[in-house]
Amino acid sequence: MSPSAETVVDARGVRRVFDRAVLDGVDLQLKQGDFVALLGPSGTGKTTLLRILAGLDAADDGQVLVPRKRSVVFQEPRLIPARRVWRNVVLGSRNPRRDRKKAVTALTEVGLAAKSDAWPLTLSGGEAQRVALARALVTEPGLLLLDEPFAALDALTRIKMHDLVAELIQRHNPAVLLVTHDVDEAILLSDRILILADGSIDVDVAVDFEKPRRRSDPRFIELRTHLLERLGVS
């Protein structure tokens, strides 16, 4: 099977060994516009896989094909405190001053145009995470990697962020890999859910009912029960 034209991520037989094989032959294909959530208990290699796709870590074995333009939103905003907000947004730019307008546009999308000149340490946790999101989208990436980006937010901010992320991803249409251990979040946002267990992808289910999804929907409840069972919770 060769990757078709619209395939943006093609990972095959990915292995990564620390004291044990955390990833032991993972296969993952993503097309443009796919929104895939990766679930799994702590220590199952979710973040390791994400870091390999980001290019922050190298696989020991296997082949990985990813878009050159890719970005990551981490659990922490990871803004540079010594750079103003708009400078953080165009952090990777070859010519930040020229791209200032782009930065402000991206900040407008996350509702933070007014904070363009602020210092990161003056932002709230939710605001900082929105800046991180603007920074991730400003380059129009082919692949957006989200490493538990909502985990550190308070419950109310998290709900708002879910909506914002869903809306922005629809507009920019990158392939998305969301690493999370929140089953509800995965069902709310993604089109396909994977569970990583014992070094390989154990469960691969499509979430095929329409968005926006409600937690009270019987299909939602059924899928959640199924996933929690596979995660060994219920």
Binding site: S71, V72, R78, I80, P81, L91
Partner: protein, 288 residues
Amino acid sequence: MTTSELVPPPVKKAGPALESLTARGRQGRLRNVTRTWRGRVLRIAVPVGLIVLWQLSSVLGWADEFTLPPPSRIIAAYQELWANGDIQAALPISLKRAGTGLAIGVSLGLVLGLFAGLWKIGEEIFDAPLQMLRTIPFIAVVPLFITWFGIGETPKLVLIAAATIFPMYLNTYHGVRGVDKKLIESGQTFGLRGWRLAARVILPTALPAALTGLRYAAGVSLLALVLAEQINAREGIGYLVNNANQNQRPDIVIAGILIYALLGIVVDVLMRVAEHFALPWRPRVAIG
């Protein structure tokens, strides 16, 4: 009675289970105000009291004026030094010495610190020798410097430079190495490598540490200045002090020492102001 009974467990004399916590009340608030004012008054009153005591010691004849000249004599000494033009001549020379030595030491420390911080090879070459040299007290090398560089201006500058390299090097190196790895990763994620990664992520984040190094170095430069000016100085504050010592003028000696102290305060305040303007992103950088 010989019948044995079950002994009940000793009951601790229990107080009431509930305790009433008193509100601060009017009196308590008043006490807080009194405490604040007590603090303010004592902070000023104690130093002033000590100076008055010092003055009294000579008025009442507790201390010999030659051993410990009173504050009034020291003020008179300043007037004398000013009228002769001695201070105006000495101060710029001492400041220039400290400044030149500091500039040399700080530049070297900064370059070495950046080199060792940013490049593994730099660390491998420079860190071990600098860490070894750092343990030598710079006071101990004075005789050696006199043998090597004579008694002119050179050994003084070399001494000040040598003393200031280390605080600058150590703080810069640790500042660069201490940049959160997560921030570096986030830069790498957005395609920053090499020089751009250093300029946009590492150096600005390491700047506070480098400025701390600069502040320490500035303080050390004054220490080294005092020492350097003991080496046969022919001009400068140290010369004034040594000369006064030989002429048995303890008032001028104390006046000179106080000038050194004042320089220390001025340098520290200047450094804090510089930090305030160089690090606008840090919340609440206090001045003074």
